[in-house]
């Protein structure tokens, strides 16, 4: 039967301590490192949680011309330059403005869809639709 020696115990404790210090130190240090964390789910909060927006989301999904899962929406939306900027932006007001500007660019470029009669930009229709998918997958 193998014995658990004192040396082994101290070695294990040192490994754990080193790991803890390394992790804690890294966390502390990384707090000062600027990073770009795309957060598609938080962008969905831009789409209002109003009955009309939910209805548009449902109808947009029914259209069948939009992606039917969140990765698909994330991929499509991040192709839009101002949406990419919005994903990297922390200030909610600026994020909202960027999304609105992207919608305006969509309209100008005729990237529009008609959902429940509303003439919408593809971006906002996608946001409303993706929001409908989030509760099931998040």
């Amino acid at each position: 039967m193998a014995t658990f020696t004192r040396r082994a115990l101290l070695g294990s404790a040192a490994v754990v301590a080193f790991g803890a210090v390394a992790y804690g130190g890294s966390r502390f240090g990384c707090a000062f490192v600027p990073r770009n964390h795309p957060d598609f789910f938080s962008l969905l909060d831009i789409a209002p949680d109003a009955p009309i927006a939910r209805r548009i989301g449902e109808r947009a999904l029914e259209l069948g011309s939009l992606p039917n899962d969140l990765p698909g929406f994330a991929s499509a939306l991040t192709e839009r330059p101002l949406i990419r900027q919005a994903l990297a932006e922390d200030c909610p007001t600026v994020r909202r403005t960027l999304v609105q500007d992207q919608c305006a660019l969509d309209f100008a470029a005729q990237r529009t869809v008609i959902v429940d009669g509303w003439v919408l930009s593809e971006t906002e229709a996608s946001l409303c639709a993706a929001r409908m998918l989030r509760p099931q997958q998040a």
């Binding site: 609105q100 305006a104 309209f107 100008a108 005729q110 529009t112 008609i114 009669g117 509303w118």
Partner: protein, 529 residues
């Protein structure tokens, strides 16, 4: 001079240089213009000086096509014609409306907008309008607010002018009565157009009262100016010498009936703070009362194969105090009387106005109450609007006026009106709204919800009561009843005046164009007669 064929024995014959049938905006403008040029005019009116049920009954007919229309109530058979109840919106047709278009069959007049411009300018006075300026830029500096910040290459602000509205009977009665060169006869219903034997020349017209008093009118030239439906009915009924009806050698009389599709289904929601002040209300500026709408740029209309349209914003207020749904005949009569009394005069046709008010007393009381409350209630600016328009239809030979077996008191066959609204007309309007919605979205000022489904339902469309196209103008006799001078192709001295000559309907209310064409015809006849 104004005489009444019902009073006393009829004259053996009535003689003039030009005989005009009809005393609406076309007939009266034409008569006054010809008189100014020294021509002797016989002006015939089938009705009397005021509304008379037995005369109005002659306009009754069947509706066999789209049913949101009628044949009798929309017209007035009396001195002054339908100007007795028009609403007064005026704009010229657009240059685009006159152009032949490869993508729209049968589109295009044999004249251009530029040909008509001088006459539009002269027509403004007849209709008590401001200067002949219909470009937004002409008015922009004087307006109290900015237009919506839309891309003008796609959607721009369009200008209409509002006539009081001019009632031709009231405004021009005395001028015609006192004009020695105008011989106007009331209750003189046209019952026959007589061609000189074997010729293409009208020799005379027979006129009659409903009681049978009859006489003959001789003139060098004859003009029929009885409106978009009646002009066709008269020609189709003139079968004694031409079996299909005068001018109908190519089966065109009555065809191409077009109207404006009055539709109010789509909705615009503007963002908070968007200044829409210019649009929902009429604006008094520079001697004119303006109404502003949204119009698609003509290049885009051509590129997207649309029909022409001008969209007006109708505010949807939360409070009914700001609703204008009380504005019916009673309110208009009340408003007219109030304005006239305030100037120290008794209104013309006081009894008619008074009875209109009595009939609609509820609406008048509502209007008075709401106007009073608006003075003290906090102002309410709507952010939700319905889009209302009188939308153009594509020319359609199957949309038509035909005769039916039933006859009226004068022995004329009554008409069936088969107004066609096609899915294509409605889908073009849907696409128009889509363009407006995209422009509003691109400007970041709101969103539009289209109220015309992808599978269109004609039930959303109502007649604008703008009867047009039934004796359309075209250089080719196989494609039109009258030529560029409004002369019936197959008759040397017979002319048509009014909206029946329109080759396309555009989206402008027709009265200004009717009047301009009448003035143009007067200039032409003054040279040729």
């Amino acid at each position: 001079m104004i005489s009444d064929l019902r009073s006393g024995p009829p004259p053996r014959e009535i003689v003039g240089d030009v005989c005009i049938v009809g005393t609406g905006p076309a007939g009266i403008s034409l008569a006054l213009e010809l008189s100014k040029k020294g021509r002797r005019v016989v002006l015939l009116e089938g009705g009397g000086p005021v509304y008379e049920q037995d005369s109005q009954d002659l306009y009754r007919g069947q509706v066999t096509g789209h049913h949101h229309i009628d044949t009798a109530n929309s017209r007035l058979r009396q001195f002054g014609g339908t100007s007795g109840h028009w609403t007064g919106m005026c704009a010229p047709l657009d240059p685009l409306d006159f152009e032949p278009r490869n993508d729209v069959p049968h589109h295009g007049w044999p004249i251009t907008r530029a040909d008509l411009d001088p006459f539009y300018a002269r027509a403004q006075n007849y209709l008590d309008l401001g200067p002949f300026k219909y470009d937004f830029a002409d008015w922009a500096a004087k307006l109290p607010a900015k237009p919506l910040p839309l891309d003008p290459g796609k959607v721009f602000t369009d200008v209409y002018q509002q006539s009081p509205p001019t009632r031709f009977a009231e405004k021009f009665h005395d001028a015609i009565r006192d004009d020695a060169r105008i011989d106007c006869w009331l209750h003189a219903n046209l019952t026959d157009i007589v061609l000189r034997d074997g010729s293409d020349v009208v020799e005379s017209m027979t006129v009659s009262t409903l009681e049978g008093a009859q006489t003959m009118v001789r003139a060098k030239t004859f003009v029929i100016a009885c409106g978009g439906i009646e002009n066709a009915r008269i020609l189709l009924n003139s079968r004694k010498q031409r079996s299909a009806g005068i001018g109908n050698e190519n089966d065109l009389v009555g065809r191409y009936y077009t109207d404006h599709m009055t539709i109010e289904t789509s909705t615009v929601m503007f963002n908070e703070g968007v200044d829409t002040a210019l649009y929902p209300e009429e604006i008094q500026v520079g001697g004119a009362l303006l109404a502003l709408g949204l119009k698609i740029h003509p290049d885009l209309v051509r590129r997207l194969h649309l029909n022409n349209n001008s969209a007006f914003l109708v505010a949807q207020h939360d409070s009914e105090i700001y609703d204008d749904d009380f504005r019916n005949y009673g309110w208009i009569a009340f408003s007219t009387m109030l304005k006239t009394f305030s100037r120290g005069h008794v209104p013309d046709r006081f009894a008619e106005h008074y009875c209109d008010v009595v009939d609609d007393l509820g609406a008048v009381a509502t209007g008075v109450y709401r106007h009073a409350v608006r003075k003290v209630a906090p102002s309410s600016r709507a952010s939700v609007f319905k889009i209302r328009q009188d939308a153009e239809q594509s020319p359609n030979p199957d949309s038509r006026v035909t005769l039916i077996e039933e006859k009226d008191a004068l022995g004329f066959n009554r008409i069936a009106l088969n107004w066609r609204i096609t899915s294509d007309d409605l889908l073009k309007l849907r696409r128009t709204h889509e363009v407006i919605g995209a422009a509003i979205g691109a400007a970041g000022i709101g969103r539009l919800q289209i109220g015309i489904p992808e599978t269109p339902d004609p039930e959303v469309a109502y007649s604008g009561y703008h009867h047009m196209g039934t004796t359309r103008m075209h250089a080719d006799p196989r494609q039109g009843v009258v030529d560029a001078d409004c002369r019936v192709h197959s008759v040397r001295n017979l002319y048509m005046a009014g909206s029946s000559t329109f080759t396309t309907g555009g989206c402008a209310n027709p009265t200004l164009t009717v009047t301009a064409l009448a003035i143009r015809l007067a200039d032409h006849l003054a040279v040729t007669v």
